[in-house]
Subunit: 223 residues, 2 copies
DNA sequence: CCTTCAAACAATGCATACATTAATGCATGA
DNA sequence: TCATGCATTAATGTATGCATTGTTTGAAGG
């Protein structure tokens, strides 16, 4: 209904480039001038330029005057920034959800995602686990219905996506994270505002610590 | 040093348009097609387009396919979204500042801004008061050194700017806000993390309530 | 007088053109 | 060999051109 009636080239360029970046096919450090990207995408510079500006706003790319677009690495410092924001915002969203009892359908969906995460963990399917993790966080945000918050946080998720994917296999199975998701969901369902907030906050703080310590122990200054 | 070595037209268009919007010379609801804006700014459509895209990302404008750029009003719902985010983020920044004791120079500056606010209140100079208020919030953010947070929150400040300016004169002198700023500053200086957080949170929650109730009592659905 | 339809108009999305200017490479000279 | 400077190359920033398509106007018909 509200979807693009007219698929525009800018949109196409944006989506394709973003995908290449997130899937690490255009890894951090990759650099290319506009004409080259335009050629690669089979369109003129104009829509490419607009797509790049958008990607720059979202923190995935930097446009350097005579050198083209640079795919940005995400440093430990970036992670700290990002996780600090997530730690402040997501628990607020969870608390608000606990307060205003979401509709059954949405809760149902969150439940399904949580189950998917639990079974992925049981099966040792890390990709499925990461996918469920991502979906849980995004769904929760979407349910909260603060569009500005949702959009912003989603760009942060995108920024850390690569880092999460690579660290995923450098650590123990994410049992604790899985338990925490279940716990958060329970608190929301129970309508316990403060516990929902606290749990989520703890979840984020632990995740941040874990991620940063992995980066440190593997000497990964950036991803 | 880091300033624009090359003032570009995009930048110029962006700054001028943003200024017109914030100063209410292009009021909410104002609408104009790209060619008209380009003419007004004395340049071609290309840089105007890029500037408009940027303003759209920042939530000041909406680009409607065949009708041009529309200066967005800020509704009560928008306010709620924005203040919810501010309520989550700013107290975090304040708490973090209290924790890691900022350098004397910065504190000095915050102190000066707070004094300016207090004297503006005493003199009944509302414009000076609003300016000090804005500077306090922005300075505090800047001191916290989380660029993503700073940039994002600054765009939110911009979005509510008009609303704040008009409600400024529809209410009692902002004595409480002034006291709260002082209080927050004291807690930061004292290094009391929890009190800094709590005070700031209360400050924001009260401000949001106040603003929304003014909108309601004056029947202003949007600004 | 109101509705309907078509033709004219106009704005966008995109491609292309072009001037400016930084980066690069090469030749020259120490 | 290495530094210096000039010529070449190429990327950006901006302007312009153009096809598509939504909007509007006005005339004809009910």
């Amino acid at each position: 209904m509200l979807s693009e009636l007219k698929p525009t080239r800018v949109e196409d360029a944006y989506l394709r480039l973003k995908d290449e970046i997130l899937q690490n096919r255009m890894p951090p450090g990759f650099q290319a001038p506009e004409p080259e990207i335009a050629l690669h995408l089979g369109m003129s510079r104009t829509p490419v330029r607009e797509a790049l500006i958008r990607l720059e706003n979202e923190g995935l790319v930097r446009l350097i005057p005579r050198r083209g677009a640079l795919v940005l690495p995400v440093s430990a410092g970036d992670m700290r920034e990002i996780y600090e924001i997530l730690t402040a915002l997501e628990p607020e969203a969870a608390a608000s959800l606990a307060r205003k009892k979401p509709d059954a359908g949405s809760l149902q969906e969150l439940e399904a995602i949580t189950l998917a995460m639990e079974s992925a963990l049981a099966n040792g399917d890390l990709d499925a686990w990461a996918d469920a993790d991502d979906r849980f966080h995004r769904k929760l945000l979407a349910m909260h219905a603060n569009n500005r918050m949702t959009n912003f946080v989603n760009t942060l998720f995108d920024q850390v996506h690569r880092a999460r994917m690579t660290t995923l296999r450098l650590r123990k199975p994410p049992e604790q994270s899985t338990r925490e998701h279940r716990e958060i969901l329970d608190h929301i369902i129970a309508g316990d505002v403060e516990k929902a907030r606290k749990s989520f906050r703890a979840h984020r703080e632990r995740a941040a610590d874990e991620l940063l310590s992995i980066l440190e122990s593997y000497r990964l200054p950036a991803l």
